[in-house]
Symmetry: C2
Subunit: 333 residues, 2 copies
């Protein structure tokens, strides 16, 4: 087995170059253009082994895919199109080359899907400066561009705005459960199992939705990387508003209900995280048009209120009111 430490820096850089933008030269920095009239959006992330991913649940290809997806999702959450990413790595010298190759292949495949590239990093400086005796850490900075009036911010929600989400929530968390306890789910239908695992291992940032939002700008929102509940709470806090969310509109997917009880399924749907969907707020008229054009991908889940609390409304039980609170969100279920 080839180990990183046996390859030497020069050979390592040579091998990794094919995963990067073809124009990437070994200079002190990468140079590129932001389109005229566009603003630059920058987002940084550090993923650490055994904290953000583990070999147990995530093969290196998937670690690469997910780390890129998370960063592209941050761009989508701002309404921005990707210009490229930079990658800085801290690796153990004992890391097998195969592991690193799979990591980069995963990054590249996710980038390819969205026509973007690795444009720089600690590799381009001519040194892999961060080889340590320790576990892997991956620092990614995503660069994107957006027209000023098409920026999606968190703090601009208005009373009466309709709250919509793309896609479904809780699937990634359900997939993780299957990966953590495979023996428990060995009799599960294969197509359900694969769908949930794929949701966890190869999430899709919602860049596909961005062009369809342009006619309705400006829109408030963010991604649901830390969970649907977190996104709603962040938007309300930063906009100094509250919200009413309809429980029947955020009912867990059938696939999730296949593998767990109702209460757990709702918990995963609200707090699971890493589904990388968008949670957006816009006026009722705009929301109606957007939903009409994008059914069933985009659906209405509630509305922004002037009063602060975020209330979960159960239509089948009109007397019940569950509050969503940032300090206690996990205590409600």
């Amino acid at each position: 087995m080839e180990l990183i430490k046996d390859l030497g820096e020069h050979e390592l850089l040579r091998r990794l170059r094919k995963y990067c933008h073809p124009n990437l030269v070994g200079d002190d920095g990468a140079v590129f253009k932001v389109s005229e009239g566009m603003e630059l959006v920058v987002s940084s992330d550090m993923l650490v082994e055994n904290v953000h991913f583990s070999d147990r649940t995530t093969p290196p290809y998937m670690v690469g895919w997910r780390s890129v997806a998370a960063n592209l999702s941050d761009l989508a959450a701002m309404g921005a199109y990707p210009l490229g990413i930079t990658v800085a790595l801290s690796l153990s010298p004992q890391t097998p080359w195969d592991w690193l190759e799979s990591l980069y292949q995963g990054m590249k495949d996710c980038l390819d899907r969205f026509d973007t590239f690795i444009i720089g990093g600690d590799l381009t400086g001519g040194k892999v400066s961060a080889i340590t005796e320790w576990r892997c850490a991956i620092a990614i900075t995503a660069l994107g561009e957006v027209k000023a009036n098409q920026k999606i911010l968190r703090n601009t929600a208005q009373t009466g705005d309709v709250i919509v989400t793309t896609g479904n929530h809780g699937l990634s968390r359900a997939g993780l459960e299957i990966l953590l306890y495979p023996e428990k789910y060995q009799d599960l239908q294969e197509n359900i199992k694969q769908k949930l695992i794929l949701a966890h291992q190869k999430p899709q940032p919602r860049l596909d939705v961005i062009p369809r939002l342009h006619p309705y700008a400006p829109i408030t929102g963010m991604d649901s990387s830390d969970g649907l509940a977190d996104a709603i709470i962040q938007i309300c806090q930063q906009s100094n508003k509250g919200a009413r969310i309809y429980l029947d509109k955020i009912a867990p997917c059938a696939e999730i209900l296949h593998i767990t009880d109702d209460a757990t399924a709702l918990k995963w749907t609200l707090f699971g995280g890493e589904d990388f969907e968008l949670v957006l707020c816009l006026s009722p008229e705009k929301a109606e048009k957007l939903i009409k054009g994008d059914r069933p991908l985009i659906k209405r889940i509630g509305e922004i209120t002037e009063e602060k609390p975020i209330i979960l409304i159960d239509n089948s039980n009109p007397d019940s009111e569950v509050l969503l609170d940032s300090n206690e969100i996990f205590n409600h279920f």
Copy 2:
């Protein structure tokens, strides 16, 4: 003693916000403008405790200063002016708050010197997502802008170009030596000791020189973060040229000769690294004007040749020819 883990994420972010750009809001990404007609320059770095710095030789304030200086130097090496940096951190929960505060103060003081800011990072996402049980890792991405025709690249050196450097080399390495073996240098003159230690702990990226280079664009070059010899070799390799370097023009500083023998002093001067000076190549006419206007900061050390080898020329011993080679640079001394 306050530990990171006892502060909680919200309080930690609140405390760190004062070191960031005042307009920084907690959104998925930071948004800013690149000036019209300018290209974007991006450079990423990861610094890992006990690999790139250690508490033994570098207090946290200096770690912060040096990590920012290294990244701003990458921008200077491209001829670019800083727009800001992003910072992503991996910290042990056992990290004392005081340590983190000093780290950020060091980063901020270095940024202030060059009128720039922390504009984003893993902090802005509303989570310190990378707290681990392990040593500290700091990932910095520096963003800068440059006019297309003022870019400084490594691969454009021409035969006959004069090679110049800013400042002095080897001082940072000498400062490290004093920090590593303080007992050995306890009788050293205080002003020399302080100068060398400062060169190691608070290096100055050469952004001050960039505006003075504009009249002579385009210029070839890079910074000497990995050593003077490395910079010369990188430029020659990427430009497919060789060089003649005059040993008397790269003679070690008096301060270095105060603390070590001639051979070691020359070794530190050529290979020490982390002086963050610029090594530049330009036509003899342009070089003459640049040096004239900036003496003694900028000085001529050699010239680019068509023939590949990089020759160190000792005028006092015309028969000697020492070759500088990327695979053997350490073996020549």
